[in-house]
């Protein structure tokens, strides 16, 4: 669970307790009022107290975003205010309604009643009826100023909205409507395709008519030469009819063509406005996200013993809620970072001639038509580049001898590396420095950019550029081993045709010079674990390469070719596929075909892990060592299950295959640390599997255990010959 949601949960717990106090006080007050035994002074006191309680509860509910409670309190406040001004006499019916309201507040605070319950609407309606029993707000103003001591709470703070104009609709419902609208997007391309097809047809038909026009004088000459030929006469007759038909086809095509063109324009326009409307419905102001920040900053500052002034500008700017969801964690992380790493302790600040309280501000601005820029700045110490370098050297990201020559800009880039933290005391607030790397990745995944500027001693600026909407981005469509993939154009630096002679081996890894830089080269197919095609040439003279640029780093990937670039729509992979390595989502092509969208930052990591390097030397230490993975191959269900459960109980991660060929397929697509295989199996037996494994570059060093019940000496001997890696 993230710190943020923990915080929210804590906040809700606190609210629950607070709400209960207010509710109990109001309940007691109302019960006493209803008895009608209190004298006038006492009664006024009670009314004043329930009014104040309702008001406080309203404020508390608003702070945690429980708008339903806020609305209920607002209505109760209105009634109590009417009591106060004696517009309204407490009556039996009204008490019942108020009690029900308080019950509902309790259920809402405890979460036992959902906001969408119909009960709420009904109670609110009754409260409203109660409130209008008093005179209208217009008549009240004169007396209001005369006899109220407490600050006047405008009873009509929010405009009256009649039920017919607003409609409560769940976000899920809205999203599904939006999805259906987005589905129509390919229609644009289909329509314009139809239109251009028709124009093409028309051009062909016109060419044909021109030829017919040339045939005509020839036929006339023939007719003159053979005036009595009956066959020719018949032919001429047919030719005339043919010409008439051709002409009507031309006319028809002309009409259809221009109609299709017009319709395509109209469709474009209507679809665009529909999508804009749908998107607008999904827009939320930044303030919905930032509301909780004030409290969070205060708590974190207190925890760190620091004083912070937190200011926000431009939080009324609206943005796609999906972008807002994605930006939340990175932003929370960066604010935490500023508090724990950026700002100095108050005493330190005073020594440096700064105000005791540090300033962290977030400025949100629309830039360009479809982008928003967030600038998070603090007036703290700035990033200590010397310490960053030391930390980078300690983590082997930087050679000690290179450190002095490293430019400030390059040194600053180091803070985005994972597990680099300059704050030596690992604290609960900022975690272990992993966060900035992840924050950057999250931002880049939605097509955004994160950059940082710092001035030693003065402060740090983080600049985040994000799209207003997640809906579409430009993507490069490419082919790899007969499959189609999309890579976001923003990460594609160039596509080129490389010559095999350009490839050089550096540090046991294939590399290729691109624009004077040596860039490491991987095979996209191998990284993704796609099976090689039968006719694939392992070392062609030329091959296509896509050069990716992620977080300032480059890599080159072999692909089969590029199909084009187009606007694509991201869809997530569904609930079961929370996160897939190297794949960030999928998109629908005009043809209806789903195409996976590749995740450039994952690909980058995969390349540096060596997943797709042609050198084939897999360093075991690079792999995650959480659980060793074993592949068990046996055609017998019983043996397979038995082996699996024994190995699993020993803490291994076990996958099973039913025969050699099944196993080989699995070995190609997943990584294993050990292969345990039976000898006698259908389709491909254990020996053949072993041979195939040894023959493969990638798996040549995979330890294999052959399990057999065969007692023949020949088999045993065969096994020992095939089994170079004993266990």
């Amino acid at each position: 669970m993230s710190k943020e949601s923990e915080f929210l949960d804590r906040l809700k717990e606190t609210f629950k307790a607070e709400a209960e106090e207010h509710r109990a006080t109001m309940m007691a007050g109302l019960l006493e009022l209803e008895k009608g035994e209190a004298d006038q002074a006492r009664e006024s006191g009670i009314i004043e107290s329930v009014f104040r309680e309702a008001h406080s509860l309203k404020g508390a509910a608003r702070a945690v975003g429980l708008t339903e409670i806020e609305r209920l309190c607002q209505s109760m406040e209105e009634i109590f205010s009417a009591f106060k001004k004696r517009y309204l006499r407490p009556e039996r019916d009204l008490f019942d309604t108020l009690y029900r309201t308080l019950d509902l507040v309790e259920s809402l605070a405890n979460g036992t009643v959902r906001e969408s319950d119909t009960e709420l609407g009904e109670v609110l309606g009754r409260l409203k009826v109660g409130a209008v029993k008093g005179p209208g707000p217009g008549d009240g103003h004169a007396t209001e100023t005369a006899n109220t001591k407490t600050p006047v709470i405008p009873t009509n703070a929010r405009p009256e909205i009649s039920l017919s104009e607003t409609l409560r609709i769940s976000a899920t419902r809205l999203r599904s409507i939006f999805l259906r609208a987005e589905e129509l997007l390919p229609l644009k391309q289909v329509m314009s395709q139809h239109s251009s097809d028709l124009h093409e047809l028309l051009a062909i038909q016109e060419d044909r008519n021109k030829i017919s026009g040339k045939i005509e004088p020839i036929l006339k000459k023939l007719r003159k030469r053979f005036p009595d030929d009956r066959i020719l006469a018949h032919f001429l007759d047919l030719q005339n009819r043919y010409l008439v038909l051709s002409d009507s086809i031309r006319t028809k095509l002309d009409i259809m063509g221009s109609r299709a063109f017009k319709e395509s324009l109209q469709t474009n326009e209507r679809l665009d406005s529909l999508l804009i409307e749908a998107r607008t419905a999904l827009l939320l102001p930044f303030s919905t996200l930032l509301e909780s920040f004030t409290r969070m900053v205060r708590d974190l500052a207190a925890e760190a013993g620091k004083e912070v002034v937190w200011t926000v500008h431009g939080d009324d700017i609206q943005i796609d809620r999906r972008v807002l969801e994605k930006i939340k964690d990175p932003l929370v992380h960066m604010v935490r970072n500023s508090i724990s790493h950026g700002l100095e302790l108050p005493a330190e600040r005073e020594q440096r001639g700064k105000p005791r309280a540090g300033e962290i501000s977030l400025r949100i601005e629309r830039i360009e038509n479809d982008k928003v820029e967030l600038t998070l700045s603090d007036d703290g110490v700035g990033v200590d580049l010397a310490r960053v370098k030391i930390a980078a050297i300690a983590k082997n990201y930087l050679k000690e001898s290179d450190a002095p020559a490293l430019s400030d800009a390059d040194a600053l880039k180091l803070i985005f590396l994972s597990d680099l933290s300059t704050n030596l005391a690992v604290d609960s607030v900022s975690g272990r420095g992993l966060g900035l790397a992840i924050a950057r990745e999250n931002i880049e995944n939605i097509g955004g950019l994160l950059s940082v500027e710092t001035t030693q001693g003065k402060g740090t600026f983080f600049r985040i550029q994000i799209p207003l909407s997640l809906a579409t981005f430009r993507g490069v469509l490419l082919k790899c081993r007969n499959r189609t993939f999309v890579i976001p154009t923003v990460h594609v630096e160039q596509v080129l045709r490389a010559d095999a002679s350009m490839v050089v081996m550096l540090a046991n890894r294939e590399s290729i010079p691109i624009n004077g830089r040596i860039v490491s080269l991987g095979s996209l197919g191998d990284i993704l674990g796609l099976a090689a095609l039968h006719d694939e040439d392992a070392s062609p003279d030329h091959f296509a390469v896509v050069v990716l640029l992620v977080a300032g780093n480059r890599m080159a990937l072999r692909i089969d070719g590029v199909l084009g670039e187009q606007e694509v729509l991201t869809k997530n992979l569904g609930r079961q596929l929370v996160r897939v390595r190297n794949v960030s989502g999928a998109t629908v092509l005009v043809t209806g075909e789903l195409v996976p969208i590749l995740n450039p930052s994952d690909l980058m990591k995969s390349v540096s892990r060596g997943d797709g390097s042609a050198s084939g030397t897999m360093d075991l230490t690079l792999r995650e060592t959480s659980a060793r993975r074993i592949l068990v191959v046996d055609d017998s269900v019983t043996s397979r299950t038995m082996l699996k459960s024994i190995l699993e109980s020993a803490g291994y991660e076990v996958r099973t295959a039913v025969d050699g060929s099944d196993a080989f397929g699995l070995l190609r697509t997943a990584e294993f640390d050990l292969l345990v295989t039976d000898v006698e199996m259908p389709r491909m037996n254990g020996f053949d599997l072993c041979e195939k494994v040894r023959g493969s570059k990638r798996m040549a060093n995979l330890p294999v255990v052959l399990v057999t019940s065969l007692d023949s000496g020949e088999d045993r001997e065969r096994a020992s010959r095939r089994e170079p890696t004993r266990t």
Partner: protein, 180 residues
Amino acid sequence: MDDRMSTAEHTVMRNRARKLSVVPATDQGEDRFLQVLEFLLGSEKFAMENVHIREVTALPIVTPLPCVPSFIQGIMNIRGSIVSLLDLKAILGLPGTASEPGACVIILHSPEMEFGLLADQLVGLVSIPLSDIHPPPPAAMEERNRYLKGITLDGLVLLDSGKLLADKTLVVDETVRAPG
């Protein structure tokens, strides 16, 4: 305090929840029946209760995904949303992979999870008498035992769709670790 209404409603809700939590059965004469969707995996008969089944469709175009466990066949476009397709045979440890003609997709759904399951052939909705359903023989069926709810004497295996939906090991949530 007047909370009779909410108490009454609570009672209604509680009773409703209780009714929903028991195996849905219809009274038919003396015996009680369970409504299930029956389908084939290979030649074996399987069934699931209707509760979690959102829909059943003919096998649509399935796009394979790289870097996923082998029990994931790929993703499908179901009315604008992407739904993953799981190979039920692989999950249950049965040999072979279905994609023969007649193959269909059973889409399971809960508030937290949704996926499609590949079945070789749909048999249809059937009612089986509750008295015919027996507890599964212990350890008889390896992997599939985990999701087993019961079996009938004529070899129909009743799967627990709720368990499939709730099984965290079926959820793919993998990151690439940076080296070092």
